[in-house]
Amino acid sequence: MCLRAIGYGCGMELKVTDLAVGRGGAPVLAGVSFSLPGGQALVLRGPNGSGKTTLLRTVAGLQVPMAGQVHGAEDRIAYAAHADGLKAALTVAENLRFWASVFGQSDIAPALAAFDLEDLVERRAGQLSAGQKRRLGLARLMVTGRDVWVLDEPTVSLDAASVALFADAVRGHLARGGSALMATHIDLGIEAETLDVSGFRAAAAQMASTDEAFL
Amino acid sequence: MPDLGKYADAVLSAYAVSIVLLVGIVVLTVWRGRRVRAEMDAVEKRSGRNG
């Protein structure tokens, strides 16, 4: 099923070619290439500090690549990381409605339902437990109408039931023709390809850094 | 030494302040430059050895 009508750019592929990414001027990963067609998910794996977050931020356009290109990402990405961007003073519904209208959407009910937040709609975000907050942060994805979800450790602090809710949400998203790129240390129970980023560790000599001019 | 008259204090302190500041920035610049250069040489030598 392909819901182009509600903004899904179905069939368009996210294509990363020979990407090199860095943090604080130092190269972290180099030579990363993958493509992520609609309807599929790709899970990034790798030990702590291997560069998953850096890669995801680059794909989301939050930092510039040191080399290589990201194609098909403009205005298609919904990004979610540790910092949820939730306002403690606003209620669950207000938080969601805000993000919905930023992305030009209006209906927040499916998102609330998918993450079992209906009982909490009137609760202030600051009064949620860690896992409830996370659920709200993930529900935000569903009101963006974006078709590429870029997720950094989405299941942190979730209990088993919530992880299942999340997996269902991702499956639904994939079924609608969306795609998902996720970094995680645990098994999500979603059929997805895996990419181990530790294979792409940047050898210092091999690639350019911003300080290259000085070497 | 020229006769500076009643304004001696003003003129001398103006020269003193300026010269202190000028010499200060020059000394600071050179001192830091030397240090950085030495540090760079050390690192260059080290990394040259390592590969």
Partner: protein, 218 residues
């Protein structure tokens, strides 16, 4: 953009940051002035327009450092940057919300506080007008400063340092207009110049602020 504006207003109202407190700071600065310079009313009358302008400026400044920093810290700015809204628009809207929650109350409160400082009767109208014309520029320039310092922990004081010299022309023309009016002189020239500055700032500054924010976000 509308949603962002109203969210910022709601946050300012609810988080105990907004309306009341910028005002309270203004009030207290104005109240502390007699304690510090002494209570002679002639002296107070003389400095009243200036103190009111300076107080408004400082009250505005004090609330700047959270203008973008809060959204930066909780990740909302990253998310906004990946949203369809342009960064220029985001900064402009946030500056507008800042003005509504800080500048506007100051404009409305200034005449009341003028009484405390024995402001000359002829000064009230132009004081309010000059604040109304000038405070939008203060908010927009402040947003630029906030965008410059957004990634820096404890950036508040650095922000003041960067922003205050930028406030000088606005302050000079604004205070000059209020002072002239209080002395019974014609305030129209400084008022025109003030309006000119504000217009130019509102037209050009969002782009500078957007560019700076883009650099800081990457």
């Amino acid at each position: 953009m509308r949603a962002l504006f109203f969210r910022d207003l709601a946050l300012a109202l609810r988080a105990g940051g907004g309306f009341g407190l910028g005002l309270a700071f203004f009030l207290i600065v104005v109240v502390l002035v007699p304690f510090s310079v002494g209570p002679q009313s002639a002296l107070l009358t003389q400095i009243a327009p200036g103190v009111l302008w300076l107080g408004a400026l400082l009250a505005c400044l004090l609330s700047l450092d959270r203008l973008l920093a809060v959204d930066w810290e909780d990740g909302a700015l990253d998310l906004l940057a990946t949203s369809p809204l342009p960064l220029e628009g985001i900064v402009a809207v946030k500056a507008a919300a800042h003005w509504v929650t800080t500048g506007l109350p100051l404009v409305l409160a200034a005449p009341v506080l003028g009484v405390l400082l024995n402001l000359a009767p002829s000064g009230y109208g132009v004081l309010v007008l000059s604040l109304a014309l000038g405070t939008p520029a203060l908010s927009m320039i402040g947003a630029f400063g906030a965008a410059l310092t957004v990634g820096i922990k404890r950036g508040g004081l650095l922000l003041s340092l960067l922003v205050l010299p930028l406030y000088v022309p606005t302050l000079i023309f604004g205070a000059e207009a209020a002072r002239r009016a209080a002395q019974g002189l014609d305030p129209s020239t400084p008022l025109f110049l003030l309006a000119g500055i504000t217009l130019a700032v509102l037209a050009a500054m969002p782009f500078a602020a957007g560019a700076v924010l883009r650099v800081n976000l990457r």
